[in-house]
Assembly symmetry: C2
Homo-oligomer: 100 residues x 2
């Protein structure tokens, strides 16, 4: 069963600075994660009720759970997590998941 | 640019009842949404820090924003949203998004 890490970012105070950091620094770090199959970047544009709770979601796909956990724990994975934490002013919420 | 609706469900009190409803009632309703390209169902199994904030995420993919909004506003889309609302005891968080 495929697996993915999901990172949820709330709307940053400075959207432009966040976007620049995401595209120029963070995404290249993500793409260095060992055995990453695919990165999908989602930007929330609205909600049927109220406002969207998040601004951006990054989904990092792996072939299975074991590969995901190994990649997250690697030097490259840790660098990536650290950068997400800094970039989001410590508000990023990261989760591990299985995908159907 | 592809688009998707994202539904985030927190952990239900009765996981088994939720799973049964999701699989037997809700997923078939989702699959009736007009012009739905794909449904991806994610189950969160952990988090690098603390506990995962959500239990399940449903992602409904469409070819573009206009198709997504039309589908969400259709009779089938409204039935689907209503069922998600009931199934989650009004806690589901739904968002519209673009996908890169």
């Amino acid at each position: 069963m495929p697996a993915k890490m999901v990172a949820l970012f709330t709307k940053p105070e400075d959207v432009e600075a966040f976007e620049n950091h995401y595209n120029e620094v963070h995404a290249p770090l993500v793409k260095k994660m060992p055995n990453l199959d695919r990165l999908e970047v989602t930007r929330f544009i609205g909600a049927p009720v109220g406002e969207p709770r998040y601004y951006l979601m990054a989904e990092m796909y792996f072939k299975d759970k074991a590969t995901m956990f190994a990649s997250a724990g690697s030097e490259e994975g840790m660098a990536c997590g650290k950068d997400a934490f800094i970039m989001s002013n410590k508000t990023v919420h990261m989760m591990f998941a299985t995908v159907e």
